[in-house]
Amino acid sequence: MAIPRFWREIGSRYNLYGSKCGNCGTLDFPPRTVCPMCGRRSVGKMERVKLKGNGTVVSYTVIHDAPVAYEMMKPYVLAIVEMEEGCRLTSQIIDVDPATVKIGMQVEAAFRKLGSEGEAGVIHYGYKFRPAA
């Protein structure tokens, strides 16, 4: 991913910053400029909010056919996690035996390498999830 594109979202990728609609209170991740529920009524009223990092697995898969950047990691677990604040995101589940992942599993955010632009390129870091302690 191009350097500025990744860098621009560091606040959300490192620290799970989302947005809260000043009109209806819905929390979105990643942050939005316009609330999907309120439309124009929310413009200018979106607040920056940090998610706590705790969530539940809503669905998951074990990826075997991986993109080149993930050759070292396969097979790896991809999941949709519903955060305790209500919003959902897509991430990997790590530090777990793939065979033990279940819908409903509690997970917590961890900080891991997402990849890099080759051996000489910038390294990308961000959230992944591990089974909650």
């Binding site: 560091i10 490192y14 620290n15 050759e71 070292m72 990691m73 790590i94 530090d95 961890a110 900080f111 891991r112 390498k113 997402l114 080759g118 051996e119 390294i123 870091y125 992944k128 302690a133």
Partner: protein, 350 residues
């Protein structure tokens, strides 16, 4: 004014490999190697872990233990390591963003083999004692490598520890610190080289022992205390034998050294070494406990610290992962997976 450790956080990756498994690949008696080194297993970082990810985990744990500290008051962050992911671009800036201390603060990376983390501690002491900043974060972290088939492969492991240093509400005061530094080429890695080199038996007497003993003596002169006055002692742990030997020579008992001697289960975490041991001690220490700590970094030098645990230790947030639970939460690997994770297999483009 007193300065000390305000909060601490440690991190050990989950994967392990034993001397037996390593020895089997290279035609050595792995069990004997393990016994000789007093190492039962060493920690291995996962393929998506590195010094930066581990430093962030440790730093976040330190901040979580002292929730009264605002990240914006952390004025300096230093990451000491000999396996920084970048040769140029500091690990510390990423940690700074990840704990939201950025941007009004200073940062840099340190290198001094296994004592880069303690050098960072001393720097933070100076910055906070002089009132330049409220708090400084000193991190020691490594994903150290031993060359395939080399003796160091049995012990070089991965781990991180972060200490929040400051003068406000320390949970352990650093009463004295002293250092002993010489130009001694016992262990080194040239720029661009994948694996380090070492001087074999030269790494013992003229290196580790000379510096640790000299530094320990300097510290004792400053404090005027005897080994029996301490509850815990932690020495740099490149294997499970050196710290016990040097401790014995100085007059410390195995019991005092036991709690911090993590090398037996997770190997030598290099820059994190005595700091990771101190984390294990802090997990169980009580107010009033005294700690004698002497690190060592090849190249060479020692930093020594005399600490007293304060009442503040009771105010730290409870329920966070302890070193013991992380050490015990180990998943054993075979050599092939270990080699893959550690990048020892040449991939296309490498």
């Amino acid at each position: 004014m007193t300065v000390g450790i305000v909060s601490y956080g440690g991190y050990v990756p989950r994967y392990r490999i034993t001397p037996e498994v390593i020895g089997a690949v290279w035609g050595n008696d792995g069990a004997a190697m393990g016994k000789g080194l007093n190492i039962r297993a060493k920690s291995v970082p996962g393929p998506d872990e590195d010094v930066i990810t581990m430093s962030v985990e440790a730093a976040r744990a330190a901040m979580a233990r002292a929730p009264w500290v605002s990240p914006k008051d952390v004025g300096a962050i230093y990451v000491g390591s000999e396996s920084h992911p970048y040769a140029v671009k500091p690990s510390a800036t990423i940690v700074a963003e990840a704990i939201e201390a950025a941007p009004v603060m200073t940062a840099a990376d340190f290198e001094f083999a296994c004592k880069a983390g303690t050098a960072a501690m001393q720097t933070c002491m100076g910055l906070t004692l002089s009132n330049m900043y409220k708090f400084g974060m000193a991190i020691g972290a490594d994903t150290s490598q031993g060359a395939p088939g080399d003796a160091l492969e049995y012990s070089a492991s991965a781990g991180a520890a972060a200490f929040l240093i400051g003068t406000e509400r320390p949970m352990a005061t650093i009463n004295h610190t002293v250092s002993y530094t010489t130009d001694t080429p016992d262990f080194w890695r040239r720029e661009g080289q994948r694996y380090p080199s070492h001087g074999g038996r030269f790494t013992g007497e003229p290196a580790y022992f000379k510096h640790v003993l000299a530094c320990a003596e300097l510290l004792s002169k400053k404090t005027g205390l005897k080994p029996a006055d301490y509850d815990y002692a932690v020495f740099h742990q490149p294997n499970g034998k050196f710290p016990l030997r040097v401790g014995k020579q100085l007059g410390f008992s195995e019991k005092q050294i036991d709690t911090g001697l993590l090398v037996r289960e997770i190997g030598n975490t290099y820059s994190g070494a005595i700091m990771v041991g101190l984390c294990a001690i802090f997990d169980v220490a009580k107010p009033g406990d005294r700690i004698f700590a002497v690190g060592y970094g090849s190249g060479a030098g020692s930093d020594a610290f005399d600490l007293t645990v304060t009442d503040e230790i009771k105010n730290l947030k409870k329920g966070l992962r302890t070193m013991d639970s992380m050490v015990k939460d180990g998943v054993p690997l075979d050599y092939a997976t270990y080699a893959k994770y550690r990048g020892k297999i040449m991939m296309l483009g490498s």
